[in-house]
Point group: C2
Chain length 293, copies 2
């Protein structure tokens, strides 16, 4: 058992077209090095299409050993060849779809246990969209977008248990999910809420000394910290809105880091301004650098 | 000049159908007492329809003296009969549409000055949607919904100057506007950001001793307080996303109050649970009261 574990939690919609910057998929490839990359399409109702798309992408980006673990029903998760495909050291990539498909098909099965074992042994586990949302002990499975916090409409269920002490949401700004993550955090402020935009990921590193993440991609990561909540009111009835005071919010961007134990942002791990001249060439309206307030 | 001024700032989409609870429009009527209520449709490109709808609603709710100030072009804002319609003590109600129409047509005109004068003299000024957004010194006029904070796409302009030290946004949760209010607050954390949901209002009372508001309606009011921001990064180029740390967020509900000078929530001014039995009858799935955390 190694002491460093790594997850790559992607908010969905990562850049796939070769014309754009595929920083997130390239990071998956870099993490794989020259080992095996296993694509798991269990969340999807279109597993063939999902597999073919990612297989071609990862091959194009230089991975030679890309494999599929194809779980469409629970018996597939007991299939010995599927378990064997999850070879020592393999990076795993869980595609999007429905996070309940992931846990209902894999939970407690040999494939599910093997995935946890790989993670504990130092393999990088990557998930996008549903594959991301399913990672914590408790996962968000539903709730409306573009609506203020409301307990009755935020559904949660037991997740894959790869991350503790937080709830995750994907497609965050794009689907207006601040309300549902606030509702989840208000229900148990011991848990951080982390909302990840599309084409954006957090790379979570857990060591004996603590856990932290850094942000990669073009969108934002919203961290909702309920530690200092001094008033929370859920009303009397299902459907009543949540009132909650003194939530702390951080909006993090590519290169920013966050200490999950101390619950505080870390100094930048890369210079967001390093490619300013390239940006200036790429944009029609460059501007003077603004002073940080 | 009186010492107490009142604004009713409505997030748009207030309940109008008689089957629903029309608490917000009823509050406008209550504020009017037996005086005149002037509807101002300047924000709208459909002023006739807007006027007829609100005229009929306010009459149905018991206001006998409902008048229109019809400004469709700037010369209308210099029209003496329009100025005269804004009689002493009249409550004013600004309908929705485009906040830039309000300021571009009324700003610096006799009608615009008369409106400010009425407010200073104690008349209640109400605005919904664009009519709400236009009230502060600086108003939000545009910016995408469902997108994380991004300076380049949040447009602001000088507003009506009825409120200082804050920026307002309407249709808040419904249109996923957390990103744009965060961008506005990050640009100048001396200003509070206040996002008001549909069918929800804040009633702002300004006295010599200070300013506060209370919440009315079925949605939430999000207060974004940038006082404690310790890191803000706008990137180098227009279009770069905003990173910002340590924003404080409050989600307030019907009956909650907020002290605008101290920037802190106030004790509830009404009991949200007083009509629990009615709620229990109205909902199919009543539940036990949850403990506040």
């Amino acid at each position: 058992m190694v002491t460093t574990r790594r997850l790559m939690v992607i908010g969905g919609g990562e850049q796939k077209a070769s014309e754009g910057c595929r920083a997130i998929l390239e990071e998956v490839v870099a993490a794989t090095e020259d080992r095996r990359l296993v694509v798991m399409t269990v969340a999807s109702t279109l597993p063939v299409e999902g597999w073919e798309e990612y297989r071609d992408l990862f091959r194009e980006l230089g991975v030679s050993d890309v494999r599929l673990v194809d779980v469409r029903q629970r018996t597939d998760a007991y299939d010995a060849p599927n378990v064997a495909t999850l070879a020592d050291g393999a990076t795993c990539f869980l595609t999007g779809g429905d996070q309940l498909r992931i846990t209902s098909q894999l939970g407690g099965s040999p494939v599910g246990r093997r995935l946890s074992e790989l993670y504990r042994d130092g393999s990088v586990i990557c998930g996008t969209s549903a594959g991301a949302a399913a990672m914590p002990d408790t996962m968000l499975i539903g709730g409306p977008g573009n609506r203020a916090a409301d307990v009755s409409t935020v559904a949660m269920a037991p997740g894959m248990g790869l991350l503790s002490g937080l709830v995750l949401d994907s497609h965050f700004a794009e689907r207006g999910r601040m309300g549902r993550i606030l509702a989840a955090v208000a229900q148990n402020p011991s848990h951080l809420g982390i909302g990840i935009d599309e084409d954006t990921a957090i790379i979570v590193t857990t060591k004996r000394t603590g856990a932290s993440f850094r942000v990669l991609g073009t969108g934002a990561v919203h961290v909702v910290d309920g530690t200092h909540i001094d008033h929370a009111d859920f009303g009397d009835n299902l459907g009543d809105g949540v009132a909650v005071c003194n939530v702390v919010l951080h909006v993090l961007r590519d290169g920013d880091g966050f200490d999950l134990d101390e619950r505080r942002p870390l100094a930048r791990t890369r210079d967001r301004h390093e490619d300013t001249e390239q940006h200036a060439r790429d944009h029609e309206k460059p501007r003077e650098r603004r002073a940080a307030s």
